[in-house]
Structures are given as structure tokens and as C-alpha cells.
Amino acid sequence: MTEAVAAVEIEGVTKRFGEVVAVDNVDLAIGDGEFFALLGPSGCGKTTTLRMIAGLDLPTEGSLRIFGEEVGMAPPDRRPVNTVFQAYALFPHMTVRQNIEFGLRMRRVKNPELSQRVAEATGMVRLAGMEERRPDQLSGGQQQRVALARALVNQPKVLLLDEPLGALDLKLRQEMQQELKALQREVGITFVFVTHDQEEALAMSERIGVMSEGRLLQVGTPREIYDRPASRFVADFIGRTNILEASVESASTVRLDNGALIEAETSTPAGSRVAVSLRPERVRLQPHGTTAAEGSSLDGEVRDITYLGHAVVYEVAAGPVSIEVRVEGEVGEPFAAGDEVTVAWDRGAAAVVAD
């Protein structure tokens, strides 16, 4: 991201519905051409944020700019953005073609250009030949494509997508993920993509904003979000993790509540209460008593083993805490329930998260 003007710039935006604070003082800048995901559990304010960008809801406070232009209070038809709605919202009384043409007709685009752009958009989402059907004569995936074409044909500066894949079954969903990603690269339009599916967000987007209870907790690349979660909520929400209570000992060590001293980088002052996030797939199981040359380890006992096909998950009790260890690509199970083991991990695998 260069220092060019942001595609979408949200500053101190709050949205209240009566007593409910749906979006709480959010600051966010989304770059030109970026594929940005807004991720969070149900009811955290993702849709409301998107609707404010679209102009379907007006912010109670704060300012909102699209390519530098203040649009906070502008009606939706005066914004260079288009939306793919959660349930598509295709016009049931119009054909696929009429649906796709709608935005262009509203902006009085005349015929040679109109039909050319419609044909282009229809081709782009692979709907050629279905123009005369009505939405109820299409499959879920096809409807989704119509919704995409209907938005993209307008060449918006920003495309907003509200859980566009939510209604599709898993296989189609994965296909569409790839398609959407390719499409975004092709058209180069900024995509703001709302999802509550963390895997989808990690797989598709360049950057992710994690929301909870109306607040934007962390913004970063998928890797930053996954490896360096800024808070306990983010660590827990994205993927599976072990959260261990601890207090900071020094800038490079923390002491777990069970007494073990482990290596972990932190800028939190010594003595602070923190939590340590340890991803199950970033830790190893070793025979009891073997210590690693570098990194840290904990001794424990195998409590439970879950076979997942592609991986084996061990639950290890290390004193009062329980640690999940995920082992992939190993033939057989070298440890059995009741075995004394050592859980070890490399330096950098443990992330200190604030409360």
C-alpha cells in the first residue's frame, strides 16, 4: 500500500440504534485495489459498517470518505460504491439482464455502451445465455453471480460484499472463493468483504479487520492476525489456540501461572498480567524430559487423543492447564493416553496477547 489516498477512510465512526451501539468509534483506512475482509462474530457490527459505507445507514458520529471525498451523509445513489447483498436482493420481477442493466439505466447509459457493458459483465461472471431467465430460475451460485455482475457492471470504485458466499454449500463456496479472488485481481476494484468465517477471510483477503461488539480490534494481514493477535479475543476467534495465563517477567520472558518460565517477546511492562497464545500446530510432542536447544517446553501427561484423519490432536495436561497439540503428517501415534511427555515449541511460536 503506497501513501496514495485511501479508497475508504472511516474516522471515529459510531452507529447507534437507540440504546444499541452497533458500531463503536471505528477508525479504518482501506487502500485502493485492496481485498479487505471485515471479520467478526454475528452481531458485531460488520453489516452496519458496510451499510454506512454504502449509505444505507448513516453514521451517528464520525466521518467517512471515499477516495478523499466526504460521503458520510450522502444518499446511496450518490456514492461510487455498489453492494452485493447478503441474500443477493435480486429484483424478482426482472430478468437477469434487467437486473444487471438496472444501475446503468438509472445513470442513463445509452445503448451501444449499455449492451456492451452488460455483455462484458455477464461474460465475466460466466452467465452468458441466461440473460432472459428470472432470478427464481437460477441456482444459488448463479444468483450470486448475477448479484456480482449487477454491481460490477457499474464499475464502482469500491465493491461491498456482505457474506456473499454465506448461502452456498461448502464446495461451491470454495469454488466461488477462488473465483472472487481472481475476479478482484482482474478488475482491480477495492473489495470490502464481510464474513464471519475466519478461514474464508484468511484465504481470500490481503488484509483483515477483526470486529467484536462494534469495535475494530485489529487490522492486519492474515499472517499478522494469525501469528501476532493483538488480543485474547482475536487469538481465540482466528483459528484454534491454547490460551495460557501468565505475567510478564522481562521483555523476552513471561512466567506462566503454573510456574514455568517461557520465552516470548513482549512490549508489555514487567509484572503485567497477560495471556500467551500457543497455536496447536506450532507445538511439538517429545518424549518426557527431552529439552529443545532453543525455544521453550512444558512437561505434561497425555489425556486424550483425537484422530482427525489428516492430523492427530493430543490433549496434554500440564499441571492445571490443558494444552492442545496438533500433529500432522506423522505415521502412527507415538504417544498413548497416560504417557508422560514434553510439549515444546520454537522461539516465536508463543504470542503474548493483551487482555
Binding site: 445513489d77 435480486l90 438509472m106 427464481d136 430460475q137 451460485g141
Partner: protein, 321 residues
């Protein structure tokens, strides 16, 4: 459902047929009291009216059920009667149009309120409907009378007294008031079913508020408009009470004219033939509504989606085009 429930293909088909027959029989049984009622109180009088329309009026004003003829139908061509029919049709049309104009925003307002407010507003719409029609029309007569509140208001505003009672205007006001409920309810049903994310989508696609209404809301509530129009037009066309109480000699409408034939004029065949004409006209109107209305219904209501596969006809049509 389906194959799992069938024990074997042969008994399965037979069993299904038997079940269908039983269902049909049960349906008939359930419908029979209603059917009997309609037969006695609707079909029989209708038959009698039809019979009378072909009878002869004697010089003393009695009706002789002999010498069958179509004289009374021929009489309908009379200028006076044609004029009355025309005036009735015009007033009914005006009433219908006014009901749409007044009723649509009203229904829209109700349908867009929060759920609990909606219930209250709907009851308020229904209250006049539950009140005796005669009482309501007399209330209007009082309101519009030259000694009534409307006139007093007009006078106090310096417009002078106001003489609209016994004019077509008064009849129209009374009819709009009487039949507005028939317009508001179907419109409300259509608007309440409306998926507002569609108008939001239209706004998002650069439609102004008005354009979004025109292109999306209105077409999607068309079935409600059509149903409301039929429900208002049909009774206003044959309306008898309202024009009788609010109208003067110049606003003789077909309903009153028919009543007059049966009472004062003692011309039963003419009254009967006009009634037959009216009924036929209404049946045609209802049939037209059924056709266009049900067509609209199909389009408005999201049909159960056929995930992953389109109906064969549509497929074929798409390929052919």
C-alpha cells in the same frame, strides 16, 4: 417421502390413487355446507333474477311469467339507462382511482411501522369497516351538510357556505370513505410482504427514492393494487346506499335505478335484466383480476428456489434464445 414409503411399485401406484380419491372425498365433505349455502342463497336467487329478466310486465305493473321475451334487455339501450350506467361506471372509476391514491400511502405507512404499531393501526382501519354502513354514511351526510362542520369550517375560513351534499362530489367522497378499507387491506398485505432490501438494492444501484419506488416497490405490489381495485370498483359500481343518501336527483346510479324498478316503478323484468348485466360485468372484472392478479402473484412471491438446477422449460428457452 417418495420411494422409501412405497412398499412395492405396483401397490404403491394404486395406493396413491386411493389416497387421492379419499382426499377428494374428504374435501367435498368439508366444502358441502358452504356449497349448500351458496346454492340456496346465491345460485337460486340468481336463477330467479335471470328468469324474471325474460318475463313480461303487465300494464298494471305486475310481472307475468309467460310470454318470454328480451324486451327488457332491449330497454337497456335506452339513452337514460345508458347515461345512468355511464355515470355509475365513471363514479366507480373515480372512486377506485381516489382509493388507490389515498390508500397506497396509507397502506405504505402502516406496513413500514414496527410490528406492534402496525397491529394497532390495522385495527383502527378496521373499526369503521365494522361499523354499520348506514350509520357511517349518515355521519358523512351530517359532516357535509350545509349546517355541518365542514361548511362551518369553510365559512370561518372565508370561503362561504358549502353546498356539496346531493352532488356527485358528495357521492364520491362517501364511496371513497366507504370502500377505502377494501383498498387498504390488500395493499397492506402486498406491502407487508415486500422485501425492503430490494429497494435498498435499487438505491445502491443509483435509483433515487422515487425511482426505487417506481421501479421496484410499485411493480412488486401490483397484485395488491389490482385486487384492491376490483374490490373497490365492483361494489362502487353497484352501490346503492351511498348515492341514495348522499346523492341527489342528478346522481341517480345504476344500483338505485335497479332498486327503483323493483319498488316504485314496478318493472321487475327491467330491474332483473339490469341486475344480470351488472353481475356479468362483475364476473368479467373478477375473472380479469384472477388472471392478471394470479400472474403477478407468481412473480412477486419468491418461489421455492431450485438450487443448482433450473426448470427444464427455462433451460430450453435460454438455450433456444
Amino acid at each position: 417421502m417418495g420411494p422409501a414409503r412405497r412398499s412395492s411399485p405396483t401397490t404403491g401406484a394404486a395406493g396413491e390413487e386411493a389416497a387421492a380419491l379419499a382426499r377428494r372425498r374428504q374435501g367435498m365433505l368439508l366444502a358441502s355446507p358452504g356449497a349448500l349455502y351458496l346454492l340456496i342463497f346465491f345460485v337460486v336467487p340468481l336463477g330467479l333474477i335471470t328468469v324474471y329478466s325474460f318475463a313480461t310486465r303487465t300494464s298494471t305493473g305486475r310481472t307475468s311469467l309467460s310470454g318470454w321475451n328480451v324486451e327488457s334487455y332491449r330497454a337497456i339501450g335506452d339513452d337514460i339507462i345508458v347515461g345512468i350506467i355511464g355515470r355509475s361506471a365513471w363514479l366507480a372509476t373515480l372512486t377506485t382511482v381516489l382509493c388507490v391514491v389515498v390508500g397506497y400511502p396509507f397502506a405504505y405507512y402502516i406496513a413500514t411501522r414496527p410490528r406492534h404499531v402496525r397491529a394497532v393501526l390495522l385495527v383502527m382501519v378496521m373499526i369503521p369497516f365494522w361499523t354499520n354502513a348506514l350509520v357511517r354514511v349518515f355521519a358523512i351526510r351530517f359532516l357535509l351538510g350545509s349546517n355541518g362542520p365542514a361548511s362551518a369550517l369553510s365559512e370561518s375560513l372565508g370561503f362561504g357556505t358549502f353546498r356539496i351534499l346531493f352532488t356527485p362530489t358528495a357521492v364520491t367522497i362517501g364511496m371513497v370513505y366507504s370502500f377505502l378499507t377494501f383498498m387498504v387491506l390488500p395493499l397492506y398485505v402486498a406491502l407487508e410482504r415486500m422485501d425492503w432490501s430490494l429497494t435498498e438494492a435499487a438505491r445502491d444501484l443509483y435509483a433515487s427514492g422515487a425511482k426505487a419506488f417506481w421501479k421496484v416497490t410499485l411493480p412488486l405490489t401490483r397484485s395488491g393494487i389490482v385486487a384492491g381495485c376490483v374490490l373497490v370498483f365492483v361494489p362502487s359500481f353497484g352501490s346503492y346506499v351511498v348515492p341514495d343518501i348522499l346523492g341527489g336527483a342528478k346522481t341517480l346510479l345504476i344500483g338505485s335505478y335497479i332498486a327503483r324498478q323493483f319498488r316504485d316503478a314496478r318493472n321487475w323484468p327491467l330491474g332483473a335484466s339490469l341486475s344480470v348485466l351488472l353481475i356479468v360485468a362483475m364476473l368479467v372484472a373478477v375473472a380479469l383480476n384472477q388472471r392478471s392478479g394470479s400472474g403477478a402473484e407468481d412473480r412477486d412471491r419468491p418461489r421455492p428456489r431450485k438450487w443448482g438446477r433450473a426448470p427444464d422449460e427455462a433451460e430450453a428457452a435460454a438455450v433456444a434464445s
